[in-house]
Symmetry: C2
Subunit: 236 residues, 2 copies
Amino acid sequence: MSRTDEVVDGVRRMITGGELGPGDRLPVEKDLAERLGVSRGSLREGVRALTVLGILDTRQGDGTYVTNLDPANLMSSLQLAVDLHGETSARSFHAVRRLLETEAAGLAARRITPEALDEAKAVLERAARTLAEDPVDHAAFIEADTMFHRIVADQGGNPVISALVEGIAGRTFRERLWRGRHEAGAEERTQRDHEAVWRALSAGDAEGARVRMAAHLLDVEESLPSPDQVEPDPET
Amino acid sequence: MSRTDEVVDGVRRMITGGELGPGDRLPVEKDLAERLGVSRGSLREGVRALTVLGILDTRQGDGTYVTNLDPANLMSSLQLAVDLHGETSARSFHAVRRLLETEAAGLAARRITPEALDEAKAVLERAARTLAEDPVDHAAFIEADTMFHRIVADQGGNPVISALVEGIAGRTFRERLWRGRHEAGAEERTQRDHEAVWRALSAGDAEGARVRMAAHLLDVEESLPSPDQVEPDPET
DNA sequence: GACGGCGATTCATCGGAGGAATATGCCCCG
DNA sequence: CGGGGCATATTCCTCCGATGAATCGCCGTC
């Protein structure tokens, strides 16, 4: 076990053992290094790794603190991992996204706030105006698309689902998604799908929201290149 | 942006840009540090962070390599994050686990291999023998329980689902789960649930496998302490 | 009481040196 | 000619000391 791993494990124990909690401040580098029996260099590597994972937060001139440990923070590193995957795993990732967002939509139908409903409506209207322009501002539409999905995922009320969706369907993934959607009317179809989801949410129709969201995401999924389709038909 | 972040971003670009691929070797510390314009200390912090994320792999005396970037590797850091969450988020995490494993069970019913089916059967028989002993070896039963779920998740064929389940339902999480399951017959009920899932898998019954797995995991979920149940009934 | 400056604290970065583990090429032996 | 063992080179690992940068809190001033 490397020194850095000892640092990671040591801090983990300090948290699980109750010595450190969210928001608490860690001892200064010099003291903590001495306590864990490692040099400051090794300590810094371990602490840095934990900051990348969203567990610690270091502020120059101030100190090192334990984050609030919200799932949102802990899943932020997921995005980097997803981004590094090429098109090969895109279908697998999107299948997970579909599962999570479908569930979130169902949950959201029963508990969405009027404010969130209004905000979602405003986002959809903005997207509609974008599509009416000529030329269409695709970046703005993607932005609205992202925002709509984020509102639904958040209103599901499960922070782990929100965080995972945020990590999987991050900026790079969505851009890659839309880059492959060149079919005519793709954006208009997306807009109609979103509006159908919104109506179900507004009516408190959980099953309707689930089905609409699942259908929408299946639609998106079909535009992804299938790994089985690389080889051409034999045409014997 | 800190020097370490520049290192992380630099390596990310080298991978997404095609300069580096899975299995490729990175330049030696000195050269890479010079190329990125940082000291070896900062470079090491960035590389270390990427190794924790499962993106790089350093071997003393050999060099630093890009991993195969399998989802399994990239999600391994999830486990640490999940472990650091107290009981508070356990329900949210388990709801996600239930979603993923339910889907995996449905997928597995259509594509599970005879070998995996046999292996799962052997695991269940081992678990049954464990329960027949007196006293019951709880650790061994948990081990078999974990193994059964892993086989099903893997046979679903979606590597992202497998990796996420592995990360969420890791060792610490399961131990915490079973520690709270003190009801009489909990293990016997789990065993019967697993056997029902196995029969559905064996029959290629996707819907049956989904329902059985979902019911089983809902059962487990009910044994978790509910955050809403802390306040006693008003009894007016 | 409000504001600004100043010092103390803390993390960020750098450079160098020695140690440990691994891979590699060479030599000797069969 | 093939294979095993050994010395060497390469590479990462760890440590140490020093300087810079950012922040906080105290103190004096207005």
